[in-house]
Amino acid sequence: MKFGVLQFPGSCDEVDALEAARRVGDAELIWHGERDLKGADAIVVPGGFSYGDYLRAGAIARFSPAMESVIDFAGEGGLVLGICNGFQVLCEAHLLPGALLPNENLHFTSRQVEVEVLSGGGAFTRACGPVTHPPQRLSIPAKHAWGRYYAESETLAAMDGSGQLVLRYAPGENFNGSLHDIAGVCNEQGNVFGLMPHPEHAVDELMGGSADGLRIFESMRMTVEGATR
C-alpha cells in the first residue's frame, strides 16, 4: 500500500501527512509540477496555503499538472483524501461538491475539535468500526481561516440521501459556521473525501492528545488492500 502526498508551493502539512501515512504504509511526496503519481494506491492532497491562498484558497493549485493526474486517478476510482487546503483544492477541482468560505468569525482559528462519524464515506472511516447512535466521536485538531462548508440546499439534500456526509462537528464544536455542521464530505462514488480537521495531526498521543486521526489512514489502507486482495 503506497500513499502519494502532493506538494505545492505553499503546502505546509505535507510532511506531517507523509509521516502519518507512513504509520500505515509506504508514502512518497509528489511535486505539483509532475504528472506521474509514482504508482500510488491513494493520494493525499495536504493542508497548507498552496500558492499563498491567493485569489481563493485552493483555486490555483487545482490547475497544477499533478492535480490533472489526480482528477483522472479519481475518475478511475482511486482513493483521494483532501485535508484542509486539500479539501479546498478538491472542491475547486469539482471532485467534491460545494465550496469552502471564510470562517464566520473571519479569523484563522486553531482548536482541537470533536467530530462525529456519520454513515457516509466508509472507504475512509471503516477503521472507526460500525456506525453507532449516538455517533462515535473523533478528537482531531482543526486550524484554518477558510473552513465554512457551503453547498446549495438541493445539493445538500442529495448528498445526505446518497451517503456523502462523512463527518459532522459535534454540538458546540462548529466554530467556522459550516452548513449543517459539516466537517467532511465525500463524492457520490465514495472514493474522494475532503475534511477540514487535520487527521495527520492526531496520530500520536505524545503530540497533544489523540491518535484518532490515524483511523482515517488505517481505513484507507484497509480499503486499498481489500480491493487488491
Binding site: 485569489l55 481563493r56 490555483i60 475547486e92 465550496a99 468560505l101 471564510p102 470562517n103 457551503y150 446549495e152
Partner: protein, 73 residues
Amino acid sequence: MLIRPKAGILDPQGAAVERALPALGFAGVGNVHVGRLVELDVEDEAQLQPMCERLLANPLVEDYEVQLLDGGV
C-alpha cells in the same frame, strides 16, 4: 472584473464592515458586501468570461461582472 459574494451567501466580512461604519459615525449604511477587483490587460475580450468562470471567481458562491476600460489602466 468585479467579483462579489452571491446574494444570499453569508458574507461575514461585509457584515463586519456594516457593523464598523456606524461605530465611526457613518449612519444609514446597509447591504455591505466585500468582494475583489481583478485588473488585467487582455488581447481577446472573449476570454474574460471563461477566465472568470474557471479561475477568477467561484460561480457556486460568487457573482462577477466584467468592465472594459478604454485603453487599459
